[in-house]
Amino acid sequence: MTTLIKLEIIRALRNKKFMFFSVIYPPALYLIIAGGADSKPIPGMKLDMGLYFMVSMAAFGAMTAVLLGNSERIAKEREKGWVRQLRLTALPGRGYVAAKIAAAATVSLPSIVLVLLVAALVKGVRLDAWQWAAIAVGTWLGSFVFAALGVAIGYLATGDAVRPIAMLFYFGLAFLGGLWMPLTILPQWVQNIAEWLPTHAYAALGTAVEAGSAPHAKDIALLAGYLLVFAGSAAWLYRKDTRRA
């Protein structure tokens, strides 16, 4: 099982093109979106746009790499029959899911670090050392949730259907979770839904730290719950997959 995790990480590192764009995309997006934002505080929040978007773009970028990357790659591997071959080994379902999450985490970590670097160097964001560390680690660990969701989607859908389904989750969760614009400027009913979404809890980890406090227990519990559900269904779908995709 450890060999599989190791191999998945090696593969991710070897796939230079995927790695390059996955790592470059989030900081580029951050510069575009937060580039014109001034340091006016956001209505109803203690943060300004630069800070807010640093966290949400780090989260959004990490989510792009792990959710879209995982789901498409897994659907492809099922089509090619590699997963069928793997199912003829003693590998348990959780081993497969763990390896896929590890591979995704390999890609998401540098992209997160790069967004934070760009924020500090280009946008002049200043935080305490513990805040930088907490945001990086929190955003990285939080990306596991979406990596697991990516595995599950890769198993739910086949072939051509994967991309649209993954996109639906990706944009839906990003928008409703407030990664693109602060939720406080959206209607109340959106805010009510958002509160329970993994993306909202994910970004809230970082914004809580930026505001100088520890992440809320509710957000952490919510993310842990989503991780269990996504990873559990991904493992179940892996073992259950009897279709010849």
Partner: protein, 313 residues
């Protein structure tokens, strides 16, 4: 050790496996034969737990296929089994070793599968035959009690094929059970000590290659006729199992016909042929290969009259 009891599997209206009963015994090398769509792949999928049966039970080593696989008792090489991309051959074989509870040393696996010289090659850059050998290495990465192979030598050249079956014989000699599906009937004839013919999801014949040939009609009788052919009279010949009549290549315009007969008792058939008052030219009596036996069995089961196309295959 492998047993199918009253197993059924349908895909929509298509019955892929119908009331299948099958027992495999330790140390056997068994070939699974059948035309396309006979249910070979479905049978193997059920055996490996990749699909579940609609009814009936499949047991491996007294337990479910999934459990037997988790215990590392089964090695399998699937036709549809893909390989992980973006890794080296030796890394992939290393993975198979890591996942097997009774793995062999890496060098040994690589040498047996004949992939030592491509150990550092990326999996995505392999030829079809090389891929097939890597699949073989994955299937034999550890000590399995049962090895299942679905058309294992597809894409291999002659020498690779010989090496492959050499390695398989060695596995069988060590008391392992080998079950393989194949399109190459000579492989079944040479290698298997038991041949199972599947047709429309059922077992049509089960025995040694020699027994299958005998069952299908032991001999083939071929001759040309100048006079008009009375098919009904020919069909009435004793011991006949199949009949085919075609224009003979040489005298297409002359009305000369070539008749091909399969017979359980060629002596009686030929004797009766002269009794019909016919004058057969170029009479030949020959033994049936497994391939003809196989065609004879499956066409007889379809209960369709043998036609020229079928005989020409």
């Amino acid at each position: 050790m492998v047993s199918f009891r009253q197993v059924n599997k349908s895909y929509g209206a298509v019955r892929a496996v119908a009331d299948l009963n099958l027992e495999l015994h330790p140390g056997e090398t068994v070939a699974l034969l059948g035309p396309n769509g006979a249910g070979k792949s479905s049978t193997l999928d059920l055996l490996l737990g990749l699909r579940s049966a609609d009814s009936g039970t499949v047991t491996l080593f007294g337990t479910t296929p999934q459990r037997a696989i988790e215990q590392g008792k089964v090695g399998a090489m699937l036709q549809s089994g893909g390989l992980m991309e973006g890794v080296k051959v030796k890394e992939l074989v290393g993975l198979a070793r890591d996942l097997h509870p009774r793995a062999y040393p890496l060098d040994h696996i690589m040498a047996t599968a004949g992939i030592t010289e491509i150990a550092d090659r990326m999996v995505d850059k392999l030829s079809g035959g090389q891929e097939q050998r890597v699949r073989f290495a994955l299937a034999t990465a550890g000590a399995n009690d049962l090895i299942v192979l679905d058309e294992p030598t597809t894409g291999m050249d002659v020498s690779a094929r010989q090496t492959f079956w050499g390695a398989m014989r060695e596995q069988a000699r060590q008391g392992r059970t080998v079950l393989f599906a194949t399109h190459y009937l000579e492989e079944a004839d040479e290698i298997a000590d038991r041949v199972i013919v599947l047709h429309r999801g059922r077992v049509l014949a089960d025995g040694t290659a020699a027994e299958i040939k005998a069952r299908a009609g032991a001999r083939r009788v071929t001759f040309d006729l100048d006079e008009p052919v009375d098919r009904d009279a020919l069909r009435g010949l004793p011991s006949l199992t199949s009949l085919a009549v075609s224009d003979s290549g040489a005298g297409a315009g002359s009305g000369r016909r070539t008749v091909r007969i399969q017979s359980q008792d060629a002596d009686a058939t030929v004797h009766a042929l002269y009794g019909l008052g016919l004058y057969p030219h170029n009479l030949e009596v020959s033994g049936l290969g497994l391939e003809q036996a196989f065609i004879a069995l499956t066409t007889a089961s379809d209960q369709a009259p043998a036609t020229a196309e079928e005989a020409a295959r």
